[in-house]
């Protein structure tokens, strides 16, 4: 579903992502882990054609993201980090707005499903600017899955959600993958990755330090946190 080959992104003299290559197969739940500022968000923005890579290439669901970024964004669902829905639409209007962009039918039914699943039916007529951060995250979640994509790219999926909703979202993602979907998400919360991921990648200072099945760690009795800390601290000291 995702093939990245030597992806690099420079912002002026700063290299945010440096020559990263990896693959994510269909039906995988892949977690990209890394400290703040390690390049996770830049990676997702490149994979979804929001920004062009400085060098390297990526194919998402068979499409080259540099050649056809709109095609990629038509196929996948994206939850960006810290992006808020437009201020002066209500939650329901925003979902209808996204549905119009994606040319979806049965919009009311689709919206009802997400208001119900993420338990924010009572907020459907509230302006987005008046929603709490947690409810905004629910809304962003709903817009990403409104068109029932085969692949979802999520930047910090559980940010601002309470523990009950975190459980709901984790259960949903695991069920989504069981039903054939693929998830690529970034996070710096290791417990989430350890709990739900099939495979992980660890990124630091824009470089991919590790990539592999989570079972390789947990199966040998190790925990993710010490492994992650050793890897990142070792890289920092190197």
């Amino acid at each position: 579903m995702i093939e990245a080959d030597g992806l690099t992104k420079d912002y002026g003299s700063v290299t945010a992502v440096s020559g990263i290559s990896f693959c994510v197969a269909e039906g995988e739940l892949f977690g990209l882990l890394g400290p703040n500022g390690s390049g996770k968000t830049t990676m997702i923005r490149m994979l979804t054609g929001q920004i062009p890579p400085t060098s390297g290439s990526a194919r998402v669901m068979g499409l080259d993201v540099a050649d056809d970024p709109i095609g990629v964004r038509k196929l996948v669902g994206i939850i960006p980090e810290q992006e808020t829905p437009p201020s002066f639409l209500t939650a329901e209007e925003y979902l209808h707005f996204v549905a119009s962009i994606r040319h979806l039918d049965s919009v009311d039914e689709r919206c009802d499903r997400w208001f119900d699943l993420l338990e924010f039916e009572d907020k459907r007529n509230v302006l987005c600017k008046d929603l709490s951060r947690g409810t905004r995250q629910k809304l962003m979640f709903a817009q990403a899955f409104l068109h029932e994509p085969k692949l979802a790219l999520i930047d910090e999926p559980l940010i601002n959600l309470d523990p009950i909703m975190q459980r709901t979202v984790k259960d949903f993602l695991q069920e989504y993958v069981r039903d054939g979907g693929t998830v690529f998400f970034s996070t710096h919360i290791l417990e989430i990755a350890e709990e739900i991921c099939d495979r992980i990648g660890i990124i630091h200072n824009g470089r991919l330090l590790h990539s592999g099945p989570i079972e390789d760690l947990t199966g040998s009795g190790r925990h993710l946190e010490p492994f992650f800390l050793d890897l990142v601290r070792g890289d920092t000291g190197a």
Binding site: Y11, T48, Q50, I51, P52, I70, G71, R73, K74, I78, I79, P80, E83, T84, P85, P86, S87, F88, L89, T90, E92, E93, H96, F97, V98, S100, I101, R102, N125, V126, L127, K129, D130
Partner: protein, 461 residues
């Protein structure tokens, strides 16, 4: 706040690009001042001074109108709570103090960016046009007064509006009745209406005191009664997006157009923004043109009004992008060019407002004989100015126009066409039909602009 303002702009187009902005203003003021003797027969110095005073009064009015937008303005302009404007949320500083500091900062910024460079440019030209260089200082003082007068008046009116629309309407009616009575009694002159202008012509304590009075009293009332608390009331609305989009389906991009409309209608200030940042300046221009006829007999006020209306109406594009950002669409299958197209359609619909103003002006002034050339001038200038704005600034006119390079190109693209059109219309109003030629470069610039901004990455800040 001053540092933040500097860094926001300098991050986007570099320190030099922003720092040179006043130099561009000074340069154009210098060039414009050098040409004054050429037009002295048709445009006496007193008329030029009046125009400059009106220009800066209008600028004060438009800057002051931001008060209507309150928190939303700051949200869109400065992003979320990481800035000093939000310090009252996390630090022991009152919102009133923050708001006052914000007002002072913006006032200082506009004076440094526009008024001072304009006066410096004029002062630099005075030796070449046989004027006393001291007029430069006089220009700075009087134009600052005019700017502050516009700012304080609109802040006063918007404070009334924030408390009660009835209070605003009542005040406007009372002031209108008083003005009419004074007009009938012959007690109103340009000097009494615009004391900074009187001060420029004849510096003395009288007009200075009157100008200060007209600045300080409305300002004091505004500060005393300003509504700084932000209501916590959660706003709820039924889904208006789909029903309205259905009606506009034939236009295409209907959901984007309706979203723009809802942004404008539901944001703070609502219709007040239209009154203060559009209708009020337009009304002032119309009144001033009626005065200018006395100085320039050949001028056709309706055609000149139409040209200026075209320029001012292009600023409605700024409204359409004020509460919007492409980052809201970047993760959806939407191109920048599609968003620009939808803004152009929204602009076309909003254009009905200035069009109605033009029809009203023609009907009430008996200028129906020159309505058609005026209409051509309005449509062409509006389209051309919009196209220049889109080409140079994309979806970010509220930020990008503060880059010296962008602003310089904006002025160079628009000023010659406007001046040529206005002078041609003085010779014969029918020459305003020539403005239709502007449609060609307008179409070209829009085409190029869509391509250009599709490939643009906004620097993070």
């Amino acid at each position: 706040m001053m540092k933040e303002e500097w860094r926001i702009h300098s991050t986007i187009f570099g320190s030099l690009g922003f720092a040179l902005f006043p130099a561009v203003v000074a340069f154009f003021a210098f060039l414009g001042s050098l040409t004054l003797p050429l037009f002295r027969d048709t445009l006496p110095y007193a008329a030029v001074a009046l125009l400059a005073q009106i220009l800066f009064l209008l600028m004060g009015v438009m800057v002051g109108s931001f008060g209507l937008m309150g928190r939303e303005f700051m949200n869109r302009r400065f992003g979320q709570a990481s800035l000093v404007a939000y310090a009252s949320r996390s630090l022991p500083v009152s919102e009133r103090r923050i708001f006052t500091a914000f007002l002072v900062k913006d006032t200082v910024y506009y004076i440094l960016l526009y008024v001072l460079p304009f006066a410096v440019g004029f002062a630099a030209a005075t030796p070449f046009i046989s004027l006393n260089p001291a007029w430069g200082l006089l220009a700075f003082v009087s134009l600052t007064l005019a700017f502050l007068m516009g700012l304080s008046i609109v802040c006063f009116l918007s404070t009334l509006y924030a408390h009660s629309v009835r209070l605003l309407a009542g005040t406007v009616v009372v002031l209108g009745v008083l003005a009419l009575a004074a007009l009938r009694l012959g007690a109103i002159t340009i000097s009494t209406v615009l004391p900074p202008y009187a001060f420029f012509l004849d510096p003395g304590p009288g007009p200075l005191a009157l100008a200060l009075l007209l600045i300080l009293v409305p300002s004091a009332v505004s500060v005393l009664f300003v509504t700084v608390e932000y209501p916590d009331r959660t706003k709820r609305f039924n889904n208006s997006l789909d029903p309205l989009a259905e009606r506009l389906r034939a236009l295409g991009s209907a959901h984007f157009i309706v979203k723009d409309a809802l942004d404008l209608l539901r944001s703070e200030g609502g219709a007040g923004k239209v009154i203060f940042s559009f209708l009020l300046p337009i009304g002032l221009i119309w009144v001033c043109l009626q005065i200018l006829i006395r100085f320039i007999p050949g001028i056709d006020p309706l055609v000149v009004f139409a040209v200026l209306l075209g320029v001012i109406s292009a600023t409605t594009y700024n409204w359409l992008t004020e509460f919007d950002s492409f980052s809201s669409y970047a993760f959806l299958p939407v191109k920048v060019s599609e968003v620009i197209d939808s803004k152009l359609k929204s602009y076309g619909l909003l254009g009905l407002l200035p069009l109605a103003v033009l029809v009203l002006a023609a009907a009430t002034s008996g200028g129906t004989g020159t309505f058609l050339p005026a209409l051509a001038a309005f449509l062409s200038v509006s389209a051309y100015t919009l196209a220049v704005t889109v080409y140079l600034t994309g979806l970010h006119p509220n930020v990008m126009l503060y880059s010296a390079g962008v602003f310089l190109r904006y002025l160079l693209a628009i000023s010659p066409a406007l001046l040529l059109l206005i002078f041609a219309s003085i010779l014969d109003p029918a020459y305003a039909f020539g403005s239709l030629l502007l449609i060609v470069p307008a179409a070209f610039l829009l085409f190029r602009g869509r391509v250009k901004w599709q490939a643009w990455e906004m620097p993070g800040y």
